[in-house]
Amino acid sequence: MAAGTDTLKRTPLYDRHVAAGARLVPFAGWEMPVQYAGIREEHVAVRRAAGIFDVSHMGQIETAGPGAEALLQRLLSNDVSRLREGGAQYSVLCREDGGVLDDLFSYRLGPDRFLTVTNAANHARDLAWFEEHASGHDAAVRDRIADHAMLAVQGPQARALVGALTDGELPARFHTAVLTVAGAPDVLVCGTGYTGEDGVELLVAPAHAASVWDAVCAAGARPAGLGARDTLRLEACYHLYGNDLSEDRDPISAGLGWCCKEDTGFIGAEAISRVRSAGPAEKLAPFVVTGQGIARQGNPVAGGGVVTSGTFSPCLGQGIGMAYLPAERAAPGTPIEIDVRGRARTAEVRSRPLYSKES
């Protein structure tokens, strides 16, 4: 980010982060907590109990009106007609050539009303893309980022802990409900998350964000930063836009063919269909470093390919990551060699997820 710290946006929870001793860093134009006590401790707290993340930098776009479903069907890769009221659906937003503009969760709030959550770095571009393609559809596209703070409560105890603060029943996984949470009315509670753990995401009015945060923390959730969010999502093999997804990569190569329903005729469907039938030249594959070392984003793979995400896995105690590899060398079990700043590090392709409770 070229922006100086003086131009960075702050979430409604900024004061809470400072008080909790967070290390704040610039992230996609926002000043966000990367860690509090330490990435490893926060990561383990989410795997074993519950953590709370401020993800208010993520944006929301509302699409409403009689033509809302048709517009989203044209924009999003998944089959939006199968998204029921009170449901959640993951998809990618693509260009005509199949390049990925963003990966998104959409919630159907009513028969003709949807809320789509965007990545912070892509929000403005996504919004412009939605607006540009809205003409000809009887649908209104509205930027809703200023109306929400977003808190993710994740971990095996997350549901019990939030459930005790609500007036109703928490939504099932990939469903939503509007509930009062810790006295805050009309919180959109979503049974989603990006850590590989069960949990909920709370879309709450900015004025109520701090009181909800305080209540969830008092109930036992540990504040966790973007650092732990990254190690958690990578153990679960969830994609991070800007690392594992970009305009130069198509969703089939990225392993996201499951959320592409080309027969719906979305923008990019033809290009994606061609890649699907021909088979991608490269595939995104998870790996573990079998020897010493930690591979990082940008490290080349011997014989072709590149690491797009790499970190140290707190749960596995070794280097892990995802890399685009030539398709014939992307099968689980394949040994690979990664050039980590001039040193050859041995690694092995694995199946996803890299970490699960059973492993």
Binding site: I39, R40, G227, D230, Q292, G293, I294, T311, F312
Partner: protein, 128 residues
């Protein structure tokens, strides 16, 4: 170690390294400030015993969960020992940066370089 500390018997390099000089051998490591900035250390990649290190040049890498950093040599010489315990317990660099978290011992090729390093007060002042 939770509290900042800069022992007065050590010499300091502006790239946040320390050296404990004993005759013509110096024990080297990274400072409290460096480990705090880095966060939890998860991997230390030591140089080989016998390798030559040059003052102000990187000689090893230390990695936290999020990032990798070069370690800069505070003095020139030859590596005579590396802290093998760090391969299984790199967190010693955070827990005890001036003790169990030492990185290497160097036989100095030019002991007069020690005079170019800072004392604890000067180093601490440079952090403010």
């Amino acid at each position: 170690m939770a509290e900042a500390s800069y022992p007065s018997d050590l010499k300091y390099h502006p790239e946040h390294d320390w050296a404990r000089v004993d005759g013509d051998v110096a024990t080297c490591g990274i400072t409290w400030y460096a480990q705090e900035q880095l966060g939890e250390v998860v991997f230390f990649d030591p140089p080989e015993v016998g390798a030559t290190v040059t003052k102000d040049e990187p000689y090893a890498e230390v990695e936290s969960v999020k990032a990798v950093s070069d370690v800069i040599a505070p003095l020139s010489g030859e590596i005579v020992e590396v802290n093998d315990a760090l391969s299984s317990g790199p967190e010693a660099i955070n827990d005890d940066p001036y003790g169990e978290g030492w990185l290497v011992r160097v036989r100095l090729s030019d002991p007069s370089q020690v005079d170019q390093l800072m004392d604890a007060d000067a180093y601490q002042a440079s952090l403010e």
